[in-house]
Amino acid sequence: MKEMSRIVKTVTNFVYGFIIIFGFYIIVHGHLTPGGGFQGGAVVGSAFALLLVSYGSLNSKKFLKKDIFSLFENSGLTLFIVLGFLGLGITFFYNFLANSGGWFGDAAVIGINPGDMNTGGVIPLMNIAVGLEVLSAFGVILLTMASGAEFTKKKENS
């Protein structure tokens, strides 16, 4: 994909930071506000798509590295399954941090409350793990298919 005009690139430079911050907000506040790992990861993935489209697939390889994304993806998923394993003392996906007072352990006020970040037990950690995995999965898919499209088009005009 060829790169877009100057205007689009300047607007992208300005906007993509906010999209990524907003995506991380959705990931981290998954257990309080609507959203969670997948939706937040998709928002951050859309920021990568914006960068890829505006800068074209050739020179967006400079700042969107594929093997860093696949490293994040593997580590995010390994963190997620290790969180499952940690509950193995009782059962596989046991929420051992909920209402335990420690990290993320406060008991939520039953009924309508303004929302306290420190509740939810394992859920925020899983949200972050899945969000990391989804955003890097989108990164890898976008870059691979973009370079794949270049490769298949080359056959057409060669």
Partner: protein, 88 residues
């Protein structure tokens, strides 16, 4: 010939869908909802999360989400394996 067989199969299939659409309970009035009422009342107490849907996705049915993250991971590995010949 193939078109006729496909056409018959399509008609049968579509009649299945229409009959199930007509017979399903009316939209907006669930006949049974004990499981969901249990979630709405106890999710905050047991998991501590305000968002009941996230507590279902990650705590009550966390294994589905692990399976589904694996689905996404499989698709990514499959796509990367498919385009592994592409020169960077």
């Amino acid at each position: 010939m193939k078109k006729i067989i496909f056409g018959i199969a399509f008609i049968i299939f579509f009649s299945f869908l229409i009959v199930s659409a007509v017979n399903m309970r009316t939209f907006g009035e669930p006949t049974f909802s004990e499981m969901d009422d249990y979630f709405i009342e106890n999710a905050q107490g047991e998991t501590g999360a305000n968002n009941v849907v996230t507590s279902i996705v990650f705590d009550y049915r966390g294994f589905d989400t692990l399976g589904e993250a694996t689905v996404l991971f499989t698709a990514v590995v499959g796509i990367v394996a498919l385009f592994r010949g592409v020169k960077k």
